[in-house]
Amino acid sequence: MKQTHRITIQASAKDNRKHTSKIWQMEPVSLPALSRVALCGGTHGNEMSGVYLVRELQRQKLEKAGSATLTTVISNPRAVQVCKRYTDTDLNRCFTDAILSSPVTDATPYEVRRAQELNTLLGPKGNVGAMDLLCDLHNTTANMGLSLISYSVQDWVIMHIYRQIQRKITSAPVRFIVLDLPLADAYSQDSLGKHGFSIEVGPQPHGVVRADIFNIMKEAVDQTLDWVQCFNSGCAFEGGEVDNVYTFVKSVYYPRDPETNQIAAAIHPQLQDRDFCLLHPGDPMFLMFSGEILKYEGEEVLHPFFVNECAYYEKSIAFHLARKMTVTIPPLQVKRD
């Protein structure tokens, strides 16, 4: 991405002072229109905001967003039916190139088959026939407010959508999380789209629909579809900086009892519900059942997120850690043929 660096020097004749300002301006970008948009809920069957939002949009027969067609999907209907995260295996880990191309046998888990079906319906991943924009709806038991999750900070469509959501939504803190993975290894459903991201809203217990959380997700979806319509109709979005961007660094695991292998601690009360705060070396992380406090011993000050997410217990993950950054985005407009 070409960047132009301009330095403007203004000399004031009156007081003979020199005023220097640096303006970083990226070259404007034009991208093809987003004519096919997909909205997915129930990728995890017990994350209820997305399930009910997709059903509501289907009830309203919402099939267009301006000139774009809108496809709404309940991704894992069997898991939704039993209100569980998944039936055989986590659907949202089945979208790597390897799993999508694996041969199907009688032993193939339900979610792998379903991932391949979804790849046909919304993809194929990496192919010109894929959905232009795919937005996947999730909830978390962690106190993460409204987070957008994607694989890149250089997908300008996604970054501009993030900026709009961040500017327009005041009912929850808005942040961007980037997972640094190449497309082939991208494992989540949103990677099927040419542009894809997840909307993650919390805290909400699994199996529950909270009106406040539902309304935040609905606002985020409305802003996304608004942006798409604006973009498609030729709006020029100015460049600039977006902040509150967090890059995944590593996961922190629960301490276990060496004899019983049971989890031996809870997230410390000073860390519980404080997603995206600063975790300094020496800050408390875990409160052992014995009363002992386990402290963070990393060298770098990082930001925890997905703190105490229910679904991660089976992976033994207590939380993830991220580095915070600011991203410069270029002016963006739809490509005119």
């Binding site: 059903r55 909270r210 406040d212 409160l287 059942f289």
Partner: protein, 313 residues
């Protein structure tokens, strides 16, 4: 205070059980009971046998509420007297086993006290659940606990109701006590919730120890919330939920709900209001496990129960 000659005498509470994992994804109880099975020092009291027990191990293993059927509804006379067999649902078999170990329900051999540890996704704080308004022993214990944890509060939910009362695992004992602590998502362990439950149990066991030593507890009153009515979500003709608990009601367990107050919000933003005759006090607001039981919340009415003086026989 004039001493009353009306003192109810109870046998000393020698056999006490603490149940965890009646619902396998309610983590505070599972964790506490597992801890105490390994090292029970914290729950030992002089003159009391305190037995920690995981009631639904298969559900705990899968971190799910139940495997075949809700264990905490399974202790009906019908289930407990049914001929045992492998064809029975797992939880019914389990109920029969529990009844044998800790019961039989209704007999003199039954355990004196059972504490059943639960979590809820509702904002109920530390709720004590009472099954009978005439159980002076339990009322005195709850009075003791409420005083001990003040200024923190410990609401008491009275489930004595001809239709709404259900057959709990703790009902096997002479004095059943439910501990319902929230809000906590299913499958999640929150440190503050875990510690609250631990503290309430400590006071409960202290009460039992004092009672067993011969202390007489004078007459007292206990403010309770008596269950009144189950309120379901508005549904369409296919049985699908068409509205959510209203943001004004969400998290407002134990607060007054007046006629005309917002109750539900449809997915497209319309408010549905409460149209009852008078003020009620809702609880179990938006409990995850109750969607399938057709319950968005339950209404209660405030009552003051009197308990006579009690002492050990």
């Amino acid at each position: 205070m004039t001493s009353s000659t009306n003192v109810s005498c109870f046998h000393e509470a020698r056999r006490v059980a603490i149940f965890g994992g009646t619902h396998g994804n309610e983590m505070s109880g599972v964790t506490l009971v597992n801890l105490w099975i390994q090292n029970g020092k914290e729950i030992q009291r002089k003159g009391v046998e305190t037995k920690p027990f995981i009631t639904n191990p298969r559900a705990v293993e899968k971190c799910t509420r139940y495997v075949d059927t809700d264990l905490n509804r399974a202790f009906t006379t019908e289930n407990l007297s049914a001929p045992s067999g492998d064809d029975l649902p797992y939880e019914v078999q389990r109920a029969q086993q529990i009844n044998e170990i800790f019961g039989p329900k209704g007999s003199p051999e039954a355990y004196d006290v059972i504490f059943d540890l639960h979590n809820t996704t509702s904002n109920m704080g530390c709720t004590l659940i009472l099954e009978s308004s005439k159980d002076y022993f339990n009322l005195q214990m709850m009075h003791y606990i409420k005083n001990a944890i003040a200024p923190d509060s410990c609401p008491v939910l009275l489930t004595e109701h001809p239709l709404l009362k259900y057959s709990t695992s703790r009902s096997v004992a002479k004095h059943p006590i439910g501990l319902e602590v929230g809000p906590q998502p299913q499958g999640v362990l929150r440190s503050n919730i875990f510690e609250s439950m631990r503290v309430v149990l400590k006071h409960a066991l202290d009460f039992i120890e004092l009672f067993n030593k011969g202390l007489e507890f004078p007459p007292c009153t206990v403010d309770v919330f008596r269950v009144s009515e189950k309120m379901d979500y508005p549904r369409d003709t296919n049985g699908n939920i068409i509205a959510m608990v209203h943001p004004n009601l969400q998290d407002c367990d134990w607060e007054p709900l007046n006629p005309g107050d917002p109750m539900f919000q449809t997915f497209d933003g319309t408010t549905i209001r409460y149209e009852g005759a008078g003020t009620v006090y809702p609880t179990f607001i938006n409990e995850a496990a109750y969607y399938e039981k057709q319950q968005a919340f339950v209404t209660t009415r405030r009552e003051t129960l009197a308990a006579g003086a009690i002492k050990k026989t």
